[in-house]
């Protein structure tokens, strides 16, 4: 019951629900800034090979003479300025960060997509068929979620060894359960609505009802969880790499860069750890700001 007048068809109809959501999202300045920041970060990461001053992993481009230069110093060999300083091998930190972002975002993004796919299929199936299948799947999910993510990831990587593919696999295994639970809980609500019964009445195949009818209506909470989880995935990957069980040294992510500089922090060479750290924090903040706004916009209860 509400005191609001029933909202009849609008004078100037916004075409699709999606566009309405986008319009609402844009009303929050901070969220828009966050989104712009994230897009910038993503573009920088993607374009790293073209915009980075040097390829930090091409050893021929490195000059050991430039090792551990503070920010703003000019190279001894070339006249290149190291905006963010260099690490002890003489690697330009700016370039290293751009390349590191690329790896961090790639690992998180791929694991996100895989985990969403697995979680969604499992969650929708559990909700749609219900009964014992549902109980079984949800017990597995509960079991999975009752262990700390970092612990599971550490054990898996200890067994599998290092490698980008292995980190991705570990992240998927750690994360699918969140999506499964989210999708299931919203799908169970949607499942009770008449449009699902109507689709069953029309003898549409189960798969079609699950993925064409139910799933699109479960997307909003999924997006919210995905923004939280991608930030977590980035942080988790950084943690694993920092601990030395994540990506190999040949493909260093932000976490590995931070770990590399860690030993020098106390000797005053702060920049080797600090700048990758700032990049990591900015990325996570941008994603979280966007996620918070999405949660507000997509929450049906907060809408009028």
């Amino acid at each position: 019951m509400t005191t609001h007048p029933a909202a009849p068809p609008r004078a100037a109809p916004v075409d699709s629900p999606t566009r309405r959501i986008i319009a609402q999202f844009m009303e929050d300045r901070v969220a828009v800034l966050g989104l712009i920041l994230f897009i910038c970060i993503a573009i920088l990461a993607l374009m790293a090979p073209w915009i980075a001053p040097q390829n930090p992993y091409d050893l021929s481009q490195l000059n050991i003479m430039d090792g551990a230069l503070p920010p703003g110093e000019v190279s001894f060999g070339t006249d290149m300025t190291y905006m963010l300083g260099t690490d002890q091998q003489g690697r330009d930190m700016l370039s290293a960060i751009l390349y590191g972002l690329r790896i961090s975002l790639m690992v998180a993004g791929v694991s996100l997509l895989l985990a969403i796919t697995v979680g969604t299929i499992v969650g929708v199936t559990a909700a749609y068929f219900g009964g014992r299948l549902d109980s079984f799947i949800m017990r597995v999910v509960d079991l999975q979620l009752s262990f700390p993510a970092i612990l599971i990831a550490l054990i898996l990587l200890a067994l599998l060894g290092r490698g980008v593919d292995k980190v991705i696999l570990a992240l998927v295994i750690v994360q699918w359960a969140y999506y499964a639970r989210t999708v299931r809980s919203s799908a169970i609500v949607e499942r009770r609505k008449d449009y699902v019964d109507a689709a069953r009445c029309l003898a549409l195949p189960h798969r079609r009802i699950m993925f064409r009818h139910l799933l699109p209506n479960c997307v909003p909470p999924l997006i919210v969880v995905a923004t939280v989880q991608i930030a977590q995935a980035i942080a988790l990957e950084a943690t694993l790499s920092f601990l030395g069980v994540g990506v190999p040294i040949t493909e260093p992510s932000l976490g590995l860069l931070i770990a590399n500089g860690y030993d020098y922090l106390l000797s005053g060479r702060y920049w080797i750890s600090l700048f990758p750290g700032i990049a990591l924090v900015l990325t996570i903040i941008a994603i979280n700001v966007v996620g918070d706004r999405l949660r507000d916009v997509l929450n049906p209860r907060l809408q009028k």
Partner: protein, 334 residues
């Protein structure tokens, strides 16, 4: 209207059982008196619906009318009994035959909003099933949808819209078009006009009547509103707490209700009496279906209840031509 039944409901019951959870089972082992709870939502109902007729199914909350409607529409399976479509047991059909029979029986739902998928355009809501089942070639779906929209009194240009861009009455029409699009011969209307404003309700009731003429449809019209049911139905079945208590031709049943419960319902049909009305309310609450009274379910509220009503379940039997009623009072009179 032929006498041949299009749909037969034979001794259909639906029981919902809430199984004990682990803790309850443990408590039971220890001697606690916990039993799995069973609700007889529909209790041994038999009905046959003739081709082309409108059978109204009325009753109050918990009487099982919607559960019965959902079983007829194939949305849930009876716990016991059979539902026959043109003589074929719908539960025993397989494959293409099962699908064809399923499409023949469609349903129009109560809530015009929740029965339409908010993320689909009207074109897909109506056109999806005919396309998936190959009733209409892919290239002709758009034209087909537009024809369906026109059929239910909507502007064909609205096909590209989403449900939220329609008013309640228009959404109801979309729901009807969706059901019609798979060329059914039988439609279960589950409280299909209950959520609509009075003036819109009249439009939709008229539409149901028109479509029945045009497509030779048969309706099972489920509603709590005897006024509406009486208006549209040829015959009316009255249910109370899962059981069928009276069945008869609409006008006759309203004019001469036999069962005391039907009488009570008839007394509450909306009417515009000028001057203050005196309400002859029947007493008491509707009992919980989880714990129905023994004997005749209606006896605690019945002004004529006697000892036999408290013990023995009255059987549904002929009390006049084409009229069935389940009340012990009829034995007394005889």
């Amino acid at each position: 209207m032929s006498q041949e039944p299009i749909l037969t409901i034979e001794n259909v019951s639906k029981r919902f059982t809430k199984d004990l959870d682990l803790a309850e089972r443990a408590a039971r082992k220890l001697g606690a008196r916990i039993a799995p709870m069973t609700v007889h939502a529909v209790d041994d109902v038999s009905l046959s619906i003739r081709r082309g007729e409108v059978l109204g199914l009325v009753g109050e909350s918990g009487c099982g009318k919607s559960t019965l409607g959902r079983m007829v529409a194939g949305l849930s399976a009876p716990s016991s009994g059979r539902i026959l479509h043109e003589g074929r047991d719908t539960a025993k059909l397989k494959g293409a035959e099962a699908r064809d029979v399923a499409l023949k029986v469609q349903m129009v739902f109560q809530d015009p909003m929740s029965s339409l998928n908010p993320r689909m355009r009207v074109r897909d809501i109506i056109g999806e099933a005919p396309q998936v089942h190959g009733l209409v070639p892919r290239a002709e779906v758009d034209a087909y949808v537009e024809r369906m929209l026109a059929q239910v009194g909507l502007d064909p240009a609205t096909a590209r819209r989403y449900p939220h861009q329609f008013s309640g009455g228009q959404r109801a029409r979309v729901g009807i078009a969706r059901a019609l699009a798979v060329r059914p011969d039988f439609i279960v209307c589950d409280e299909s006009v209950a959520a609509l404003d009075v003036s819109i309700q009249a439009q939709v009731l008229n539409l149901f009547a028109e479509l029945r003429e045009e497509f030779g449809l048969t309706y099972l019209f489920v509603s709590h509103d005897l006024g509406v049911v009486e208006h549209i139905s040829d015959r009316i079945a009255v249910m109370y707490l899962g059981r069928l208590v009276e069945l008869g031709a609409a006008e006759d049943l309203i004019a001469r209700p036999n069962h005391p419960y039907t009488r009570a319902l008839v007394a509450e049909i909306p009417s515009f009496e000028t001057g203050k009305k005196t309400y002859h309310a029947i007493k008491g609450e509707i009992p919980s279906p989880m714990n129905p009274p023994r004997g005749c379910h209606f006896h605690p509220r019945c002004p004529h209840a006697h000892d036999r009503c408290r013990i023995e379940v009255p059987r549904l039997r002929d009390v006049a031509a084409g009229r069935l009623s389940a009340c012990h009072l009829n034995d007394r009179a005889a």
